[in-house]
């Protein structure tokens, strides 16, 4: 592309009327896998269980004696773990079904959040590299998360969690074969 043709593109671009620009508001949003919520709630349950288990184990073991205060604190610790776990699980129960994503020709978008809704849009032109991530639990549930890195830095990694593996691979492929990748 030469300088002049570039300038023309930019120039003609400014001539477009507002109506012709693609609109984010009318995105058709796709939900992520339903398993994702189940997996998260399950995970929180397990963490809470393990923590309670450790506390209980310490409380009722017979190898050494605990200070009096710790014994008294035991019910509160358990209650605290259960309460925090409950709130956390409740959040995921309601928030995870509100994670959506959308693909357009030129960009990928994600909407998430329960009270604070966030819609982020990542132009594929600006993608530096793509990863499909699968933790052990993700593998067990047949899920994967798609991570898209731009020059915006670690803090702003675009991530769609809880995709089925096929869908994640498909999206990765879509981004990789996109003609803008490699052109920077």
């Amino acid at each position: 592309m030469t300088t002049s043709s570039q300038q023309e593109t930019v120039f003609s671009n400014n001539q477009l009327s507002i109506d012709e620009i693609p609109v984010l508001k009318t995105l058709t949003l796709l939900p992520i896998s339903k398993k994702y919520r189940a997996l998260n709630v399950f995970l929180i349950g397990m963490v809470a269980l393990v923590l309670t288990g450790i506390a209980t184990g310490l409380r009722f073991q017979r190898f050494w004696s605990l200070p009096e205060n710790l014994v008294l604190a035991y019910p509160y610790v358990v209650a605290g773990v259960v309460a925090i776990g409950g709130v956390w699980a409740l959040y995921h129960f309601f928030a995870d079904v509100r994670i959506f994503y959308a693909i357009r020709e030129q960009d990928i978008s994600k909407q998430s959040g329960l009270i604070f809704r966030k819609l982020s849009c990542q132009p594929i032109l600006r993608v530096q590299h793509v990863e499909v991530n699968r933790g052990p639990l993700d593998r067990w549930a047949g899920l994967a998360s798609l991570q898209v890195f731009s020059a915006g830095g670690e803090m702003h990694t675009f991530e769609i969690p809880g995709l089925s593996l096929e869908r994640a691979e498909q999206l990765r492929e879509f981004i990789l074969v996109h003609k803008d990748i490699g052109a920077r």
Partner: protein, 568 residues
């Protein structure tokens, strides 16, 4: 890179720069010279080179500072186990010190012996490290930034330190520790040349272009700068100089104390000890004054005020010193498509930045700056995340300290033609911003304090809480009043600040990501927050009309996706 390729590039280049009158001829001359010359200059051949002997000094100083930094953490332990100050000149201490000094200075020699480099086949190769041998191989065209440093002890001998930076991470930095200054310059020229060639081959796109359209454009060099090896000093044009007066103003308006304080950090305890001892000698016992009611409260207040003033004056003085230390002899110049900043009192520091790499211009004006009508201008480049370098030294931010308002305008015009920060019509944010932050963050704690005051019947606490609340509300109001965004189809502008004002300006096509945030409550009021992620960092403008936010997001995304211009 083969010769035919290069020449075809040059041909296309001169074709493009056709309309550029007299500059074109200079450029092509420069490029022919560049084509023939630099390769001979910098290549050291297949043999490994040693540094010049002066580098022993550098290595020694570096090793000593490294050792000292490590030892700082050991000092408390040593001090506890062995009262070093009482036996300052005892045999053990002297032996210890001697061993330390000897080992570090001999380590300088060893480091020197273990360091070899060569510039061969367009690669910079370095073998270094004593215990952990490292081999660094940098192709010239991968190098993003070249910094030439001249520590003061190099200067009499005409040597320089070349720091080669790759885009990857901060760790992948290579230093050629001591080379003659002329060689350093030649190497830099060669690197920039290779880089420009490589970029052109790779991108097939003029990365250095900021559309300087319109007949009145005074910057014909910019469009052609990328592909022309015109990095000779003949083409360098100084854009801005800072006089000592400007730097003193900068020192007063901006707190640069840390430059001095950072250097002096190891001696804090001693200094405080000496000061309090001195005060005690003068018969002034702070805890006496506060503890006993021997002095009237207004007297005490006066003392405190005077001391505060003295400290402030001292701080200002230190700050001026710090500013002079870093910014003495400041020049900002343009060579081709690069901006080069040179400054420093003892160590001359040079930072250069490609014009196309600039993501954002920031003009910061604190309240004191406002009074003196000065502005700090920053050109922000992509930052390597998680790596916080001191902003003044950072190659990611090019600062032009304390320029006048007109100069700030001229500089922003220079980097982003047609950008006017002040005369924009800014879309201000909603008043709900004030209410939101008051309610969410401040009401509960201050109400708590107020209730505590009421319960314990302390009127002063109650008054304090109320004043605090009013103060916070005022500051939030100021913040609300300042915060705004504007878009003039070419640039996005952001204005923010509380008492001072900051302006930011970026080209929409450089956005990496666009984020719209909206809470349930904001949705009800048809408000939304917009956030642009740029390679230099993110900018957020909260509580804007929903309609405006969506339109702006669509426009910016369209700009990115339809123009397909590189952000680098």
């Amino acid at each position: 890179m083969t010769a035919p390729e290069t020449s075809s590039n040059l041909a296309s280049h001169s074709g493009r720069s056709h309309g550029l009158k007299d500059d074109a001829s200079i450029q092509s001359q420069g490029s022919e010279a560049g084509l023939a010359e630099p390769k001979l200059n910098v290549e050291t051949g297949g043999d490994w080179q040693r540094l010049s002997l002066i580098s022993i000094l550098y290595f020694t100083i570096r090793n000593i500072t490294n050792a000292a930094q490590g030892l700082v953490y050991a000092i408390p332990a040593v001090a506890i186990s062995f009262n070093i100050w009482d036996n300052l000149f005892s045999l053990e201490v002297l032996i210890g010190a001697a061993v330390l000094i000897l080992s570090t200075s001999s380590s300088g020699v060893i480091s020197y012996l273990m360091y070899k480099f060569r510039v061969h086949n367009q690669h910079v190769e370095i073998h270094h490290g004593v215990f952990q041998r490292r081999y660094t191989n940098l192709p010239l065209w991968r190098i993003q930034n070249v910094k030439i440093e001249r520590p003061f002890y190099y200067r009499p001998f005409g040597y320089a330190l070349v720091v080669l930076d790759t885009a990857g991470s901060g760790k992948e930095e290579a230093k050629i520790v001591a080379v003659p200054e002329a060689y350093a310059e030649a190497l830099k020229k060669q690197v920039l040349y290779e880089k420009a060639q490589y970029d052109e081959d790779e991108l097939e796109e003029p990365t250095g272009v900021n559309l300087s359209n319109g007949p009145g454009s005074s910057l014909p060099l910019r469009d052609t700068g990328v592909r022309a090896p015109d990095y000779t000093h003949a083409n360098e044009e100084v854009l801005n100089r800072r006089s000592v007066k400007d730097i003193i103003i900068h020192g007063i308006t901006n707190n640069r104390v840390w430059i001095i304080l950072g250097v002096a950090a190891p001696f804090y305890d001693d200094v405080f000890g000496i000061v309090s001892k001195w005060l005690a000698d003068k018969g002034l016992q702070l805890n006496q004054i506060v503890g006993e009611q021997t002095v009237a409260w207004w007297q005490f207040g006066l003392y405190a005020f005077v001391i505060l003033m003295m400290i402030m004056a001292l701080v200002a003085l230190l700050s001026v010193g710090g500013a002079l230390f870093t910014f003495y002899g400041y020049t900002l110049s343009r060579a081709g498509d690069r901006y080069i900043r040179r400054s420093g009192l003892l160590n001359k520091l040079e930072v250069s930045m490609r014009a196309s790499r600039i993501q954002m211009i920031t003009a910061k004006q604190d309240w004191l700056d406002k009074l003196l009508k000065r502005v700090n201008v920053y050109f922000e480049q992509n930052s390597t995340a998680g790596q916080q370098i001191q902003e003044l030294m950072s190659p990611n931010k090019l600062i032009v300290p304390s320029v006048t308002e007109y100069e700030a305008f001229a500089l922003s015009q220079e980097v982003m033609p047609g950008c006017d920060l002040r005369t924009q019509h800014y879309q201000t944010i909603s008043k709900r911003f004030i209410r939101f932050w008051l309610l969410i963050a401040w009401t509960a704690p201050l109400l708590g304090v107020f209730i505590v005051g009421a319960v314990t019947a302390h009127v002063d606490i109650m008054i304090g809480a109320v004043t605090m609340f009013i103060l916070v509300a005022l500051l939030l109001t100021l913040r609300w009043w300042r915060w705004g965004i504007a878009f003039d189809t070419k640039y996005v502008y952001i204005r923010r600040g509380r008492i001072g004002v900051d302006y930011q300006c970026f080209e929409p096509y450089k956005a990496q990501q666009v984020i719209i945030k909206q809470s349930v409550f904001m949705k009800r009021k048809k408000l939304a927050t917009i956030k642009f992620v740029l390679a230099s960092g993110a900018v957020t403008v909260p509580f804007l009309p929903e309609e405006y936010v969506y339109q702006l997001a669509d426009r910016v995304l369209f700009e990115v996706e339809s123009t397909r211009r590189s952000w680098m």
